[in-house]
């Protein structure tokens, strides 16, 4: 599904964010990406949706080399990926349904199909009854669930998420993680960068630990500890 081969990222200011990383992530994997702040987790994720381009190395997503991919093809790559970030990134002047529909509108899906798909996605995250509400009328956890609905509405192959529970209390975090597990069970690959030790240790999924841009641990059924 995703092959990262000898990837190095050096920023223009000379900072080496990733250093000769090689990882393979299979279809249906649930991968936790852990490590201290500044370890390169976000850069790692950004490379997967071509927000950053490696200085060296190769990244294959579903068999396609996304490093050499022309810029004009990047939107089509992203349509197969769901992206959920820490700060909810919802449009405050649009309703829940309109926010979720955004991912379908850009693909040019008709209104009839959009309505059905929104309903399905919102039901999946348990928010179908709040489809007409605005993000400001929702709790943090609900806002994050709207983001997840928007990310999954296109049935992505991979869900990339950076600290999705970073701004949420433990109970809400558990709910969000439960939601990710359900999505994963339907076959979507999930790559999640997190500092949430409790959740990582509880779920015992594959754990990739990054430190100073290098993978220091890659364990199936792993734990959070990386030092």
């Amino acid at each position: 599904m995703i092959e990262i081969q000898n990837v190095t990222k050096i920023f223009p200011n000379g900072v080496r964010a990733l250093n000769d990383i090689s990882v393979t992530i299979n279809k249906g994997d649930f991968v936790f990406l852990v490590g201290p702040s500044g370890a390169g987790k976000s850069t790692f994720l950004k490379m997967l949706f071509r927000e950053e381009i490696p200085t060296m190395g190769k990244i294959l997503v579903d068999g396609k080399d996304i490093v050499t991919m022309p810029e004009s093809r990047v939107p089509y790559l992203r349509r197969n990926l769901g992206i959920v970030l820490q700060d909810f990134q919802l449009l405050k002047n649009r309703t829940v349904a309109e926010n979720v529909a955004f991912g379908l509108r850009v693909v040019g899906v008709s209104d009839a199909v959009i309505n059905t798909r929104i309903q399905e996605a919102l039901e999946q995250v348990g928010l179908s009854h709040k489809r007409r509400m605005f993000p400001t009328e929702l709790s943090g956890g609900e806002q994050q669930r709207v983001c997840i609905a928007r990310a999954i509405v296109n049935n992505p192959l991979v869900l990339i998420t950076d600290e999705p529970t970073g701004n949420l209390d433990p109970m809400i975090s558990d709910e969000i993680i439960k939601l990710f597990l359900e999505i994963n069970m339907r076959g979507t690959t999930i790559i999640m960068a997190t500092h949430n030790e409790k959740i990582v240790n509880k779920l015992r999924r594959r754990v990739l630990a990054l430190m100073d841009g290098t993978i220091i641990k890659d364990e199936e059924c792993g734990t959070y500890a990386y030092e």
Binding site: P75, I83, L91, F102, V106, V107, G108
Partner: protein, 301 residues
Amino acid sequence: MSLAKLSFFLTEALTNLRRSGITTFITVSTVAISLVIMGAFLFTTMNLEAFLLQMQSEAMVTVYLKNDTLLAEAHTFNMRLADMPEVADSLVVSSEDAVRELFSDPDDKRLLQIGVTPEDNPLPTTIRIKLKNPDLLKSIVDKVKLEPLVDNLSYGEDLFKQFEGMSGLLWYVSLSVVVLLGCSSMFIVFNTVRMTLFMRREEIIIMKLVGATDWFVRGPFIIEGLVQGLIGSVIATIILLSSYHLVVGKFAELIPFFGIGITFEQLFKLTAKLFMMGLILGVVGSLLSLRDIRKFSSSVN
């Protein structure tokens, strides 16, 4: 482009225009005012051109014969002139007829007060030539001035050249006005779209995250520019067309040629051109502003 995308673009563009009402109002007003000024300049230039054309089509050459020319000689010469291919009509005006004509004009009666009388006639016999085509002016002048009976020729050369020079100058001024106002309107549209881009940065980032192409992101902004240009053009067209008779009436009192020779069809064509110009200003202004759209979408966390 699918209907769903077009509908999305239109909805987005119109919603945003409504939300940023003041900036939209300023942009639309600027475009409208610029187009009205451009239209006024082009209209004046067209009037002057029409007047010149009319002047040319009525071009008349007056041939002054030498003082000792007999009337019979003048008539013989006139017959020769009438046979020339350039000449549409020619008429001998004897010195007596000329002076009668002169004193029939009430304005020139004051000549009597300064001592010029019909008895003391200073006017020579003349032949007035009307040309078939104003372009033949030079050719006939060259031929006639060599004739032995001819003392002098007059064909309003200086006035003609003055008007021609004025028309040329006015075209340059109009062109400069069109370019300058066009650029400034485009700059205003450019800035409005730029401001909107900053205001909607988050939206653009999300659009890009969910897989929107650059052109998809640009779509609503281009339509916004187009709508602003369109509304500006409509306002300018209404102002120009509705004030046409009023302005022509007022100006015609001051400038005799104003309103001459401009048909409603020409006016309509002019406003159609301004209309197109408004649309182009809106779209080009937006496109220039959107050329580096990626700058606004590459800052995910």
